[in-house]
Amino acid sequence: MTKQVRQLDRVVIRFAGDSGDGMQLTGDRFTSETAQLGNDISTLPNFPAEIRAPAGTLPGVSSFQVAFADYDILTPGDAPNVLVAMNPAALKANLADLPRGADIIVNTDEFTKRNLARVGYDSNPLEDGSLAGYSLHPVPLTSLTVNALAGFDISKKEAERAKNMFALGLLCWLYSRPHESTIQFLRQKFARRPEIAQANIAAFQAGWNFGETTESFAVRYEVKPAQMPPGNYRNITGNMALALGLVAAGVRSKLPVFLGAYPITPASDILHELSKHKKFNVTTMQAEDEIAAVGAALGASYGGALGVTTTSGPGVALKGETISLAVALELPLVVIDVQRAGPSTGMPTKTEQADLNMALFGRHGEAPAVVLAACSPADCFSMALEAARIALTYRTPVILLSDGYIANGSEPWLLPDIADLPDLTVTFATEPNGPDGRFLPYLRDPVTLARPWAVPGTPGLEHRIGGLEKADKTGDISYDPANHDFMVRTRAARIEAIPVPDVTVDDPDGTARVLVLGWGSTYGPIGAACRALRQRGLAVAQAHLRHLNPLPKNLGQVLRAYDRVVIPEMNLGQLAHVIRSRYLVDAISYNQVRGLPFTAAELESMLEEVLKNV
């Protein structure tokens, strides 16, 4: 190797191209290679809006960002160090995110007059000096690929399609990534068309060799493995982790899992994934609508399954009436809301945290439900299990919030030992529990305050339940005023009484006067911002909520220990509203509602302002 090798601690690469350019695949492969190397990783795909736009247009740009480092990282990075732009649209759509000095690798073949005009470039940015501040690497990716594949028995179009593998090869060379698994992957993917597999492998290798030989790249980089807890890892997206968590919940509870779902972006992939795991006695039903989906899930729960429904905001809006029924029936039900930008249809492919209000308050009557939120892709696995645990133990609907950011983003996940997963075994009622051998469906367990789960098929426990107010213990219809008051308070109290872990505070030297409180997917950016501040000697504490109802019992105490509480949210302050009300703490609400995750940098500068003023 004649080229210089430089060590880096962290790199952020963004692959961007047309929807048809295979950028997601390219990014995935790069991520995989990188993971094998032991770096910590965080990824973020960015799909075009819901319809495939015509090729070469700005709305048609698809990108995939991957950050990797020799330490544990929290976000896919605010600003890429490297942009791979497969066409002018990709360059234009992403340039604003690049810091000056970043590397830009462009596919010059696509910078034709027509393509430039299409996205509104008056002159060619590769030539007009407008990219002077960047380190530009013009590479005729398409023609190099086609040339490299000249000897293959494939069409020109097929040869051109392999240009993403050329680019991947080049990047793998540039960052000294291994490539065995990509070659193996390509062999498998195109098992039925070996000539295509070979061509892609050849393109990949041509890209690698191009890096090795061209003058355009003088330096090669290395990023050392990160110090990560020992164990087996895989890279995982939030949606995949939710699906696996639900499968695990079925295994650990020994119950069938029934998913009732209606497709909706960005939640559909949970349905897709779960539909592959029938061997675990997981039933997936694509229902006629969201109401049927949650209804069927509740019906399955009634029958003794773990009933689950997955959706996004508009779907939860439709499910409210049935969730309210589940509150009255006191049956287990897991409702997963992968939030997207609203209101109404909003921006379906963009992330947001604006469904917290609906999860907490969006039902008629006093209809308390448990509300949880996952904070990172891998955390989705644990939180799916936690949602199932609470639903099964306390016989209540549990709403688990995720969002588009962690749903599609990925990070390394330390694979758990199955035996270490929580034991979710449930006990169905089998015997009458009342005087004279009567069965009292609303006689509560003194500890959990849960009512017995007596599934149809159990002799002697025949009983009727419904959405009308029920008499305490007997479950008979009751219009008694005192009983209603009692039942309303009991339903609220039993949710409030569910033990949830105390919130932990990350306040390394205990000197912080400002606490940043977050929930959900802001965990990464908040954490990164806090780290950056601390590295600059500024003390700041971080606490993150995964249980939003009930809230951790120590939260009030935690909040009051700080002079100032800042709550960053991708909404207009929904958690802040709850915190202010509950603890009468004058929390500062910091909000951005752009359909994008916070950048660590913006949080850092916002927090710096706050720190100045305490």
């Binding site: 094998q36 695990a248 997981v282 049927a292 209804g295 009727r464």
Partner: protein, 348 residues
């Protein structure tokens, strides 16, 4: 619960009494729902299914109070959603006998979508639609089966929307079993319930039910001894469709060549008379039958219109699961394999 068998293995000695609950029945005195309840309670024992394996799921409406009065498992759910809830239950619990009780508003108004989808899926549930052609529980608004021009609380000068024909709608939704019965004819109702219970898949039964408070006498033409014989067309599999006290009327093809019509038996040749066949695969026949009734309900067929076999949704789904799970012995080990699948790496 006694498990002593009578009349053969697996048969239980249950009686109507065993299916009564301690809840006071709270329909208006004279309501047609009483007769249906009584018929159900006395019919169920003959199925030989233990009480604990029977589930009644209802929506909201007068009719939907039904589960409270059946000493089986039961859910009085929310308006219109019973078919969806029952579908989830039926899919995961093949060992249960699941009955949906619903009203014309519950099933055809707010619940219309779940109904048609349950039927097309052919989920193994029995759907009993108590059709009183009115909203009873909310005190007398018109329903999707009320006749055009109906004057009700919400339509003081008459409704402006033509009703559904529930049987036609069910057939259009690919239903495999469609029948009609009348609250007051306990014997015929029991016959239909029996056939429904035996059917593998969704069984849709429209039951004409008198609401003596808000729509009294809606079906009198089919009940009154002076009119009923001329109005009712009893459907019996394999029997020619003649009716009337002296079988003086017969169902024949309509003159246009399409659909069916009623003619005096004396004026048609015997081989023109349609012989009822529940099992014709093409629903066109049952559909044609469903169009016979006139606006005043004369020429109303009662009995089983259609009964054909088609795989059930829940059956197919369970088959897929069984196939997939067939060689899983240790689920925890399998789970470990699943979690560890894909590109994994090890940090030491």
């Amino acid at each position: 619960m006694s498990e002593t068998s009578v009349g053969g293995p697996g048969r239980l000695t249950l009686s109507a009494k065993d299916f009564k609950t301690d809840q006071e029945v709270r329909w208006c005195p004279g309501c047609g729902d009483y007769a249906i309840l009584a018929t159900m309670q006395s019919f169920l024992p003959e199925l030989g299914i233990p009480k604990e394996r029977i589930v009644f799921i209802s929506g909201i409406g007068c009719s939907s109070r039904f589960p409270y009065y059946m000493d089986t498992y039961g859910v009085h759910s929310i308006h219109g959603r019973a078919p969806a809830i029952a579908t989830g239950l039926a899919t995961t619990r093949p060992d249960l006998s699941i009955w949906v009780v619903t009203g014309d508003g519950d099933a055809l108004s707010i619940g219309g979508n779940h109904l048609i989808h349950a039927l097309r899926r052919n989920v193994n549930i029995k759907i009993l639609l108590f059709n009183n052609r009115i909203y009873g529980l909310t005190k007398g608004q018109y329903s999707p089966t009320s006749e055009l021009g109906k004057i009700t609380k919400s339509t003081p000068v008459g409704s402006a929307d033509a009703p559904f024909n529930p049987v036609s709608l069910a057939l259009g939704a690919e239903a495999t079993f469609v029948a009609r019965a009348i609250d007051s004819d306990r014997k015929q109702l029991a016959t239909v319930l029996r056939a429904a219970a035996e059917h593998q898949g969704s069984a849709f039964v429209e039951i004409y039910q008198n609401c003596n408070i808000f729509n009294d006498g809606a079906f009198d033409i089919l009940k009154d001894p002076s009119s009923r014989d001329a109005a009712l067309i009893p459907l019996e599999h394999g029997r020619p469709l003649t009716f009337g006290r002296e079988n003086q009327s017969a169902v024949v093809r309509a003159p246009s060549g399409f659909g069916l019509t009623v003619r005096p038996t004396s004026e048609v040749s015997p081989d023109e008379i349609i012989v009822h066949d529940e099992t014709i695969a093409d629903p066109a026949y049952a559909f044609a039958l469903s169009r016979l009734p006139q606006a005043d309900l004369s020429h109303t067929p009662v009995g089983v219109f259609r009964r054909v076999s088609r795989p059930t949704y829940d059956g197919l789904v369970r088959e897929q699961i069984a196939t997939a799970a067939a060689d899983v012995t240790d689920r925890e080990a399998e789970l470990a394999k699943l979690l560890n699948s894909g590109d994994t790496w090890t940090i030491l």
